[in-house]
Structure formats: structure tokens, C-alpha cells
């Protein structure tokens, strides 16, 4: 998917959310919807404007928009933000395909951590995640991964459970802690 297509998908998704917000808000009383509806409607107009802008300019102009031209933000700033944008896009380090794959892996890892925490509770879940991450993803030696995960979950246990007296969640599966 080209950058522009991705931007369009995102803008359409935001527009859908905003329309849903407006529809839902009409179920509320006049005071409860007094602020949300105008905010959502105004945002919706902006999303539509954004859609127009990003589909009319050249692909390089994706970062430039009408309001910016209206307020005439300085050229110097334009340079700075383009520089920032280039810095933010180290895609050049990896070919585009690699980046998409790494993103998929990152989201999966997040889901794995979330799943572990929900199933086993934060302490055990974090221990397993750090161990697995260090060993499998971070390519550490398993012994050092074990040290790291023991250290992290131990410190968290001491800080949160012992010192701060947090009541721990033990997960859907009964955890040993």
C-alpha cells in the first residue's frame, strides 16, 4: 500500500469513528451532547479537508496543508519539520517490506505480553515475556535473559507489591505468585 493509500484508510477510519460519535450522541440529553457533537462535527470537517488535501497534492506534499499555507508558517520551520520527518522515517535502514514485517512482529509481541499478563497476572506474565523476548527476539544467551527477567520481575515485585502494597491480579489461570 502506498503512503497515500495508508493515509486515506486512516482518515476514513477516523471519519467513521467521528460519524459514530455524532450518531450515538443524539441519544443523549441536550446538555450531555452540547460539547461532544460540535467537537466531533468540527473534527469531521477537518478530516474531510485532510482527505482532499492529501489526494490533490503531489505525494511529496503530504505534510503540507492548507491551514499551514494560510498561517504561513515560516520556511525555516518547514525545513526543520522535513528534517524531523526524514529522521522519523528510518525506513531507508530497512527495505519497506522488512519494516511492515517488523511492525507485525512488534504488534504481535505486544499482544503476547498482554495475553500473558491477562492469563498469569503481571508478575509472572512479565517474567515469561522478558525471558522469552531476551532469549528469542533479543538473541541474548538464555542465562543472561533469565537474569534480566528475574531482575525485572523481582524489582517490580519489590517496588509494587512489597513497597507500594499493590493488590496483585493473579490472572485467569491461577499463577504461582
Amino acid at each position: 500500500m502506498s503512503r497515500r493509500a495508508q493515509e486515506n484508510v486512516l482518515a476514513l477510519a477516523i471519519a467513521a469513528i467521528l460519524i459514530a460519535v455524532i450518531v450515538i450522541s443524539f441519544h443523549y440529553g441536550p446538555r450531555a451532547r452540547l460539547v461532544p457533537i460540535p467537537v466531533a462535527a468540527f473534527s469531521l470537517i477537518l478530516v474531510l479537508a485532510q482527505l482532499v488535501v492529501q489526494n490533490t497534492g503531489s505525494p511529496d506534499d503530504l505534510h503540507v496543508d492548507v491551514l499551514e499555507m494560510l498561517t504561513r508558517r515560516s520556511a525555516r520551520e518547514g525545513v526543520a519539520s522535513t528534517a524531523a520527518a526524514t529522521r522519523q522515517r528510518p525506513a531507508s535502514e530497512h527495505p519497506p517490506g522488512t519494516r511492515a514485517r517488523r511492525e507485525a512482529i512488534a504488534f504481535t509481541l505486544l499482544a503476547v505480553l498482554l495475553g500473558l499478563v491477562l492469563l498469569l497476572g503481571p508478575i509472572v506474565g512479565i517474567f515469561l515475556f522478558v525471558l522469552g523476548y531476551g532469549g528469542a527476539v533479543g538473541r541474548m544467551r538464555w542465562s543472561s535473559a533469565l537474569m534480566l527477567s528475574l531482575g525485572v520481575s523481582g524489582v517490580l515485585y519489590l517496588l509494587f507489591v512489597v513497597l507500594l502494597n499493590t493488590q496483585m491480579y493473579h490472572g485467569i489461570l491461577p499463577g504461582p505468585l
Partner: protein, 339 residues
């Protein structure tokens, strides 16, 4: 051995067994909690005063219960509804009980709050730890001197409030019973915010606990005009109680609200708790609240203790619920007025 003798032995054995059995039952009732761990659910935030109370009292309940521990577990959310729902569904073996503001739960139920799965009248009440009369205060510079002035204001009484909390509902019932126009201004951030609004004269008056307003009253920033409680406040004998100034049906409604408020910080268990657990817990709570150690702790922390027996509380809740049906339309109207 003759038949009679044998019979006597059997009877004797049965009697001994029965006695032993009876003793054993008696034993198990007072030892119901021996060596057990009780979980005390707190549907409130860990930083609030409710938690301060619970943490202070819990060890003394454990002591008088003979239990290994009474562990406090905060389960906040939904204005207390999350924790109360949890208790409603918990296994009623007496090992899980709760402590919170009863009026908050009853009002949540009566006003039809979202997500309420429990019936507050069906909980088993185990004893009240504390209650404090509430007070209607107006600004020190306000023209309103007495509650009669509120009735004869000639314009709506402006009431700054945080939203649909206990004081909001109390105010709605007061306005109905005393027949004055109420203009509730919702959206304030908390007690500090509404107090300042009253001092400034932005609002006419609001309801707080007596201790929250004392400093302001002593400094002349606030003026108390009505006590919402069982009796007049010591030190302020000229401030009438809400029940005194109302008549007829209005008096009944106000009495229902006052009853509710007097149950304030109470211990309660899930419906269907075994009789042995209920009696053991009620006496342990009562004993804990009279423990000299606890009373010393409470004084050190500046917390008041006003105990009430669980058995005495139970019928009061029924009473509240019955009277509550009359309050419901008032509550609904008050909520509709701020939409």
C-alpha cells in the same frame, strides 16, 4: 446384660454423642473463622477516607474473629457499583465481606444507575463503623440566615454540586419536602470547588459532612442552617434537623434519607451467608469497634467511631427500601432537571 441395661447404655451413648455433637456445632460456630483469611472488599479508591477506616479496623476484626487475617482489597469503579456487584455474586461462605458507604449503594440502586446488579436490601448487614451528620451550609455573606429564608427566597436556591452523589439526592428530597425551588448547578470538581462557590456567593449553599465545613463555619465564611442527621449537632444547638422542620409526607421522605445517611460506613456480606458466619462476624465487628486499641488509633488519626449493631441495621435497610419507592420519582425528576 438385660435388655433395659443395654437400652440405657444406648440411650446414654446417644445422649453423649448428641451432647458432643452439640458442643461440636457450638464450637464450630465460634471457630467458624479460626485460622481463615477473610477478604474485605472496598469499592473505593485506596487513597480515600473509606480505605483509611477499613485499614484501621480490619486487624481488630481479625483479632476478635480469631481469623488469621482480614485483608483489605480495593475494588473501585462505577461509584462503588463494581465492588458491590462483586460481593453480590461472590460465594456466600462469609470469607468475603465488604465495607463502604451504604447510602451510596442504596441511592445507586434507587436511581437506577447503570450496571447495578445487586439489591442493597438483600445484603447481610454486619455493623456500622461510623456515621456523621451532614450539614446544609450557606455563604457567610449570604442573606439566608435560616432554613425558612430558603423557603421564602422568591427565586430558586442555587446549589453547586459535583453531580449525582448522595448530597445531590438529599438536596432534591429536601427541596421537595420543604417545597422550595432548587437550581442544581452540576459540573463542579469536588468539595473544595463547591465550598469556594458557596463562599464566593456564586451558589447559595451545599451539603457536606460537618467536619468538612467546620473550619469555614468557625471563620465565618460559611453558615450552617440545617443538620441532616438523627439529632442536632453538639456545639450547634440552634441549627435544626431536617426532620424537625418538615411535616407530613415530607417528614417521612426526609426521615428515609436520614436513615440512609446514618448507615454510612458499614460492613456487609453477600446474601445467603451462613448463620454461624453472620453471628460470628456481627459480634466480631461490634467487639472490634469497642476495642480500646482501635479507639486509640481512631483518635490518633482523627476518625470518629459511631458503632451500630448489624442486627439493628438490617431492618433499617428494609425500611429505607420501602420508603425509597416514594423517593424514586423525586430522584428521577432531579436527574431529569440537569439533562
Amino acid at each position: 446384660m438385660g435388655r433395659k441395661a443395654r437400652m440405657r447404655i444406648i440411650v446414654g451413648l446417644v445422649a453423649v454423642l448428641a451432647l458432643a455433637g452439640g458442643l461440636a456445632t457450638a464450637q464450630s460456630s465460634s471457630d467458624y473463622y479460626a485460622g481463615k483469611t477473610v477478604t474485605l472488599i472496598l469499592p473505593n479508591s485506596p487513597s480515600g477516607q473509606m480505605t483509611q477506616y477499613a485499614r484501621m479496623i480490619a486487624p481488630y476484626i481479625a483479632k476478635h474473629l480469631g481469623a488469621k487475617d482480614v485483608r483489605v482489597q480495593n475494588m473501585q469503579g462505577g461509584g462503588g457499583v463494581v465492588g458491590a456487584n462483586y460481593l453480590w455474586h461472590v460465594k456466600p461462605d462469609g470469607m468475603t465481606i465488604a465495607f463502604t458507604s451504604v447510602p451510596a449503594l442504596v441511592l445507586a440502586q434507587l436511581s437506577g444507575s447503570q450496571g447495578v446488579e445487586f439489591d442493597a436490601t438483600k445484603f447481610v448487614y454486619l455493623g456500622r463503623a461510623a456515621t456523621e451528620a451532614r450539614v446544609l451550609v450557606v455563604g457567610g455573606k449570604s442573606k439566608i440566615q435560616t432554613i425558612q429564608d430558603v423557603e421564602n427566597l422568591g427565586r430558586p436556591f442555587i446549589f453547586p454540586t459535583q453531580g449525582t452523589d448522595e448530597d445531590f439526592y438529599t438536596m432534591a428530597v429536601l427541596a421537595y419536602a420543604l417545597n422550595f425551588d432548587l437550581k442544581a448547578v452540576t459540573g463542579y470538581q469536588g468539595n473544595a470547588d463547591t465550598t469556594l462557590a458557596v463562599i464566593k456567593g456564586e451558589g447559595d449553599g451545599h451539603i457536606t459532612a460537618w467536619h468538612s465545613s467546620l473550619a469555614g463555619i468557625q471563620a465565618g465564611d460559611l453558615r450552617p442552617i440545617l443538620t441532616i442527621g438523627d439529632a442536632r449537632e453538639a456545639g450547634y444547638p440552634d441549627v435544626p434537623t431536617a426532620v424537625e422542620v418538615t411535616q407530613g409526607n415530607g417528614k417521612e421522605l426526609v426521615q428515609a434519607i436520614v436513615n440512609m445517611i446514618t448507615m454510612h460506613r458499614s460492613f456487609f456480606g453477600p446474601p445467603g451467608m451462613p448463620e454461624a458466619a453472620v453471628s460470628a462476624m456481627r459480634s466480631a465487628v461490634w467487639a472490634a469497634l469497642h476495642d480500646p486499641g482501635l479507639l486509640a488509633d481512631a483518635q490518633k488519626q482523627g476518625l470518629i467511631i459511631v458503632p451500630m449493631q448489624g442486627a439493628e441495621e438490617q431492618p433499617k435497610v428494609e425500611q429505607i427500601a420501602a420508603a425509597g419507592q416514594q423517593i424514586v420519582p423525586i430522584l428521577k425528576k432531579a436527574v431529569a432537571a440537569i439533562q
